[in-house]
């Protein structure tokens, strides 16, 4: 595959690995924020190519994991509205809520459909004019512009039975929150696809005020290794800054069209993150102009917030304080086929990744 195979070449990876080993003198802890990066590190066994003084921490970059049980409970509550059709990306279908999952509710007769693109949901809404069609909007800046585009199109086309249950979140506030909370991080491997939308100015405060290196990275092994090398060099020279490794996708100003859509359909709100609590201005709420597409406005439901499952340390894993191996439930009571916490069920959750690529 062109543009992929080139970034998986063994000799190139090994050459960067050697250069990292030569350049890195001090102990350094880097956080990969994005679940896709966690996957790549484990899938390609990059840990084994790094010297012992480089520590990698997984961050809160799996949207399914940080939204947690409450979102699932709420989605299930919506599925009980007479005639409701729930549409969702596949990731959410098996995530356990406090009592049940979307998959189990589907088996019990709820109309729950997996979609690949939110624009499909508009078609479902058009084809089922008598049913309220809910879309479970989840994800960071990588998925939220598509939700915004669907909301805007729904208004344009006069579709009145399409509703978004938004758990969309944005990335920069949580990165800052981790630093303020005191999680020991010397630099961020910043999310490639989020940054492709947002641009890189969102990281300036981390580099400027907090003195942390930020390198926006691609997802292939050569990308990841090069990003680590860039962060090591910044750190050794005590010269933290924002750099883009993933130049073939990410431009400093981001994707202006997508940002425009986001600004039109969404506004910031305080939002709850699993394991981190409420982070100010970290979630996306549908703007007044489009409030008729907000599931919460049209069908206000009050679903109680469930406590974390007993023994589950997803919260600490998401903050980078613990690894899945520290969890008593990991790979025993909690496995991908019978997950306890959300980090085990999402394909890009830290626990699922550790489980899949354990050796």
């Amino acid at each position: 595959m062109q543009y992929i195979d080139e970034y998986r070449k063994k000799d190139l990876i090994l050459a960067v690995s050697e250069e990292i080993k030569r350049s890195s003198k001090k102990e350094i802890t880097l956080m990969e924020v994005c679940g896709g990066h966690t996957m790549a590190i484990h899938r390609f066994g990059l840990h084994s190519l790094l010297p012992a003084n480089i520590h990698l921490l997984s961050g809160p970059g799996c949207p399914v994991c940080v939204s947690g049980q409450h979102f699932i409970d709420t989605a299930i509550a919506y599925s009980k509205i007479p005639g409701a059709i729930i549409t969702t990306y596949g990731d959410l279908i098996r995530v356990p809520g406090s009592a049940t999952s979307l998959e189990k509710e589907k088996a019990n007769g709820a109309d729950i459909r997996i979609i690949y693109s939110v624009l499909e949901v508009l078609e479902i809404a058009k084809n089922n004019p008598a049913n309220p069609v809910f879309f479970l909007g989840i994800g960071f800046e990588t998925t939220s512009p598509a939700t915004a585009a669907a909301i805007i199109r729904a208004k344009k086309e006069g579709i009145d039975n399409f509703f978004v249950l938004s758990a969309h979140k944005i990335m920069p506030p949580v990165m800052k929150a981790l630093v303020i909370e005191g999680v020991k991080i010397d630099g961020f491997i910043a999310p490639g696809h989020v940054s492709a939308i947002t641009g890189t100015s969102i990281y300036n405060e981390l580099a400027g005020k907090h003195g942390l290196g930020v390198v926006v990275s691609g997802f292939e092994p050569v990308d990841m290794m090069q990003s680590i090398l860039m962060l090591v060099r910044q750190f050794e020279a005590s010269a933290p800054k924002v750099e883009i490794q993933y130049k073939r996708i990410v431009h400093p100003e981001g994707n202006l069209i997508a940002r425009g859509l986001l600004a039109q359909a969404f506004e910031l709100q305080d939002d709850t993150w699993r394991g981190l609590g409420v982070i100010p201005s970290s979630g996306l709420k549908i703007t007044k102009e489009f409030s008729e597409y907000d599931a919460g406005t049209k069908y206000p439901l009050n679903v109680p917030v469930p406590p974390d499952p007993k023994g589950c340390i997803c919260g600490s894993v998401l903050r980078g304080l613990k690894t899945p191996n520290d969890c008593k439930l990991f790979a025993t009571a909690c496995t991908p086929s019978d997950p306890v916490g959300a980090c085990m069920v999402s394909g890009e959750g830290t626990c699922a990744t550790y489980y899949k690529y354990r050796s």
């Binding site: 896709g36 390609f44 066994g45 596949g90 998925t143 092994p221 690529y357």
Partner: protein, 340 residues
Amino acid sequence: MNLKSEKILLSHGNGGRMMHNLIENLFLKHFGNEILEEQTDAAILPVDAPFLAFTTDSFVIDPLFFPGGNIGKLAVCGTVNDLAVSGAVPLYLSVSFIIEEGFPIGELELIVKSLADEARYAGVKIVTGDTKVVNKGKCDKLFINTAGIGTVRKEDQLVAKAQNIQPGDVIIINGTIGDHGMAVMSARESFNFKSTISSDCASLNHLIRSMLDQSGEIKFMRDPTRGGVATVLNELAAKTTLGIEVNEQDLPVSKGVSAMCEILGFDPLHIANEGKVLVVTSEAESLHLLNIMKSHPLGKESAIIGHVVTDHPGKVVLKTGTGGKRIIDMLTGDPLPRIC
């Protein structure tokens, strides 16, 4: 009866005149053979063999038509392959249709025709069958069940049983993996994905017969259908309590499947095949068997993909292209596309 313009009605399954017409004008027309034409309640089958192999499979695929085949062709290949990998010569099939009221007879005929064509290619006779029609909404368009009988020679009776597998043994597959699953997924209506991926759906009995006839050292055979190659290898590792090592670079994966899996976050090792056989043989025999397989049209892209090892007993480990190693587990749940 003008079959093309009509739809299946409940009366087509009620045992009366319309059902009789459907059998005459559709099923007998395409499946006809001396045993079926007797139209007895049970087929009487002449066989001469020390063992019989008997299997059944139900087909509920969505969509019914996909690049490289349809539910009819699949219903033959699936059962024929289950017999063939068990060392049997497939001879007879039963075919049962459960049809949703309103299903277009024209589409049914296309399916019946490709079912008959595939049976002819595989050299099996359809000797008995059944048709039921259910109310609209009570099944999804069309379900097919086939059962198959084959004869087994004494010397072939153990080929599916994975006995005598030893460290150093070699694992071979007859071509690219993941084509069927990805072809079906890309054909789904809701999936706006244009690809050139075609299902590998094929009857493997002729290929397997030439392998069994020319090589005396086949220790294990299985068709990696649902759950993919990963599932079969995990079952094999568990059964033998030996380890299995697979080389990522040796896995035959087409460009299309590889790209689609990359985009959706799937592992081709977990994706279904319908025209593939995994074989285990000794290292000494492996190149001979590989050449036998390569000389058959359904085995041209055969490749050695891994070995049986003493390390990590009961586990399948992939040696990645970048030099790392990782465990290949069985699939959990349905393969789900990722969102970011």
